[in-house]
Amino acid sequence: MKQPLALSQSQLIGTLSAILAALFLLSLFIGSNPIPLFQAARDALMDTPSLIALIFSEVRLPRALIALFTGATLGLCGAAMQGLLRNPLASPGLIGSASGAALGAVCMLYFGMSAITTMALPAGGMIGALAATVLVYLLAGRDAGTLTLILAGVAINALALALISLLLNLAPSPYAVREIVLWMMGSIANHSMADFQIMLPGVLLGWFLLIGTGRSLDALTLGEETTTTMGISLPRLRWRIFIAIALAVGSAISITGSIGFIGLVVPHLLRPLVDHQPSRLLLASAIGGAILLLAADICVRLFPAGTDIKVGVLTSLVGAPFFLYLIIKSRRFVL
């Protein structure tokens, strides 16, 4: 499998999209009650007030949509980050953006800010994500090696998680402490269409900002100096990507909690299929991330009812061994 697979970009995107569509549909089928899905969808579209339409439009559809958009965001942002930092281990989960976002969301939710205005929740997530990302970047320095970046990320991650625990212990709600695991592992169960609408604007804005960065990321593979001579402003590119990640990851994580490893694994798996070209990787990773999270969420729901396993547990179970594999592989090159 070492030789590059002969797939054109459109073929690759087409295949991935087909898988994504199939998983999205499958996700809508899975629930505690077998419901006639097409009838339910028709009722929901025609505004017929039926119970199956209600389950379809208010329980299953938001769950599938949140999985799709969160997965895509994490995959896309992972690809953009790896391209920008030219570091195979950069990803929203590892360098602290995700836990920063969760911390920001926790500040807003448990102390009543999001009850005043619903947009406080994603705003908190965005600020947290941006602060964590920039902090790690500054801590590690501009030409940071893989190791330095990961260490800075570990430190910021630990700090954010400790603060989340502290805040949830101090929160006035008697239910807060039990929700620590939810913010640390992430869950896309039990959300409503309203939650999806809360995360959507930030996510779309973040994606939009990332659309034009592909060519600059391609140029960056030739080195920073070459990029600058090609007329690309590096500081501007950096800030553009950091802000895009903050908007998209911040909004998504403020609804789902910190879901790990998707941003790390997906770009790696797809990179050989796009000839290691960052511009082609962006879209492919977005679709790949959505596929991975939807598949993980479907698996979580196949466990017997009442087990309530968080989707982040599953992505970490897949992601952590992969992370180890990456470390071992990079050691071979270094030593």
Partner: protein, 274 residues
Amino acid sequence: MSKQLTTALLLLICTFPIQGGEQPNRVVSINLCTDQLLLMLADSSQIASVSYLAAESNSSFMAEQAQRHQVNHEKIEELLNLKPNLILASEYSNRALIQLMQKLGHRVEIFPLPADIKGIQTNITRMAQLLKQEERGQQIIKQMNQRIDKIIKQQPAVRPKALFYQPNHYTSGRNTLQDTALRVAGWRNLAAELGIEGYNPIDIEDLLMADPEQLFTSPYAPGSHSLAEQQLSHPALQRVTTGRKMIEIDYKYWICGGPMIADAIEQLHRSLPQ
């Protein structure tokens, strides 16, 4: 000299902890459920201390009365300082603490948590006997029964479907006070009909498929925010009850079983669709 000795002996006998037939006059309760019964049944002079939860108005039905007494936090040193001659606890109180107090020679009475009207009556009767306030106990039971009987006579012919929904998807199935109260008030309890036993979570799809006409909730900490509490404002819940808002029944009516269940039943009855 001998006269002084007799007086001293007499004094000693009088202040000796009273056991058996005498009315206990230094009663300490360490659990909200026994606190409330104690406050209802005992003379103020009998009560040495109630738990701190009894004075909190969100959880306690007797908060006002409790504030007149010293509160305890279920700590051994506190309890010893109070020199109790009767300690009241619930079946969910700290086991180790109870065993220690018993070992030190204190009388501890443990009350079960009732799940129906009969259990409430049993608890009231037993508490009244312990406090030597039988007459007051019978009076309270009589009043409660009268209020409940009045509601039973007014039950509708066709019972509408209802369900209790709490943060984290918890509902009240069979063998819970909420189930008893719903049925007495004239509702059907869908959670019990779905086979849920006690307090357990219900899947939101199951809830929607059961098609409740009214949802009830009992806020445990009104005004606080968490993901668990956010579940109660899921838009599907309002749509399934065709816009009828979830009705809040204060938790203090049934966090412990007591005669105040009649208040909750009356509230549930009043919220029946006309």
